[in-house]
């Protein structure tokens, strides 16, 4: 059965670290319409925070630009969140997704666990990246709760 799009929302913001908290609050607000549990909200907020922080810390390390967060809610209670930057891109996505992998200088204390955390808290994590063009991370999670009102 084809899933039907119920609602969507897009937020675009400059790659500033102060926007990490704002982006996850927006995601949490979008999620409210499917009656998530405290755990589900925390999971989505954490995954969004990781992806947006990656865009800011890595994507736009040497440049300025915008991060785009597109959220979609489908009638099967699945939430898609796509976080996109037009920054540096990732040379080797497979390596970048390995636990403890980071290209950040040691003094920045990046744990290299961002993708590990995303994969633990979401049902699906997809990463597309082109060097010099940017990175798109898509997070997907089915939210329990009651069936959606389709109006």
């Amino acid at each position: 059965m084809k899933k039907v799009l119920i609602n969507e929302c897009k937020a675009v913001f400059p790659a500033l670290s102060r926007n990490e908290s704002i982006s996850r609050s927006i995601a949490a607000a979008f999620l409210l319409q499917c009656d998530p549990t405290v755990e589900e909200t925390a999971a989505v907020k954490t995954a969004v925070s990781e992806a947006v922080t990656n865009a800011i810390v890595h994507g736009y390390r040497n440049s300025k630009g915008y991060v785009e967060m597109l959220m979609k809610l489908f009638d099967n209670n699945t939430v898609y969140i796509r976080i996109k930057d037009k920054g540096a891109g990732i040379a080797d996505v497979k390596a970048a997704m390995e636990p403890m992998f980071t290209t950040a200088p040691a003094d920045e204390e990046r744990s290299g666990l961002g993708f590990t955390v995303m994969e633990n808290f979401m049902d699906k994590v997809r990463v597309r990246s082109v060097l010099g063009e940017g990175t798109t991370v898509t997070l997907e999670k089915k939210i329990g709760g009651k069936p959606l009102d389709k109006r």
């Binding site: 670290s17 102060r18 990490e20 908290s21 996850r24 755990e39 925390a42 999971a43 907020k45 954490t46 925070s49 990781e50 922080t53 800011i56 810390v57 920045e108 204390e109 990046r110 744990s111 666990l113 961002g114 590990t116 955390v117 633990n120």
Partner: protein, 104 residues
């Protein structure tokens, strides 16, 4: 924000607010300052006032654990709520969560 309770060789740092990449930087400076000045035998990070933490918090905890060990001390984390403890556990730092927080 951090509130420091210094009991001689034991220091409790109560972290307040979200711990993300943006907030971790300032917390790190304050904690490193305390570690350098007091050289604690035990540094307890009390996360009761933390409502959110992502993997930037792992960098913060791991870095401070190393800093405390460098002065001969130990670091423990207490009062992390369920989701935050989960982030700590999947990062392989579960052993830093205080087993008996009430005795600390």
């Amino acid at each position: 924000m951090i509130k420091i309770y210094n009991d001689g060789k034991r220091i409790t740092a109560a972290l307040v607010g979200d711990i993300d990449h943006h907030a971790a930087r300032e917390m790190r400076e304050q904690l490193d300052d305390v570690i350098a000045r007091s050289r604690p035998e035990l540094l307890i990070l009390d996360l009761a006032g933390v409502g959110f933490m992502d993997s930037s918090g792992i960098g913060l905890i791991l870095g401070r654990s190393r800093a405390v060990r460098a002065v001969g001390g130990e670091l423990l984390v207490k009062n992390a709520d369920y989701e935050i403890a989960e982030v700590i556990r999947i990062s392989g730092l579960g052993h830093l969560i205080a087993a008996q927080p009430n005795t600390l």
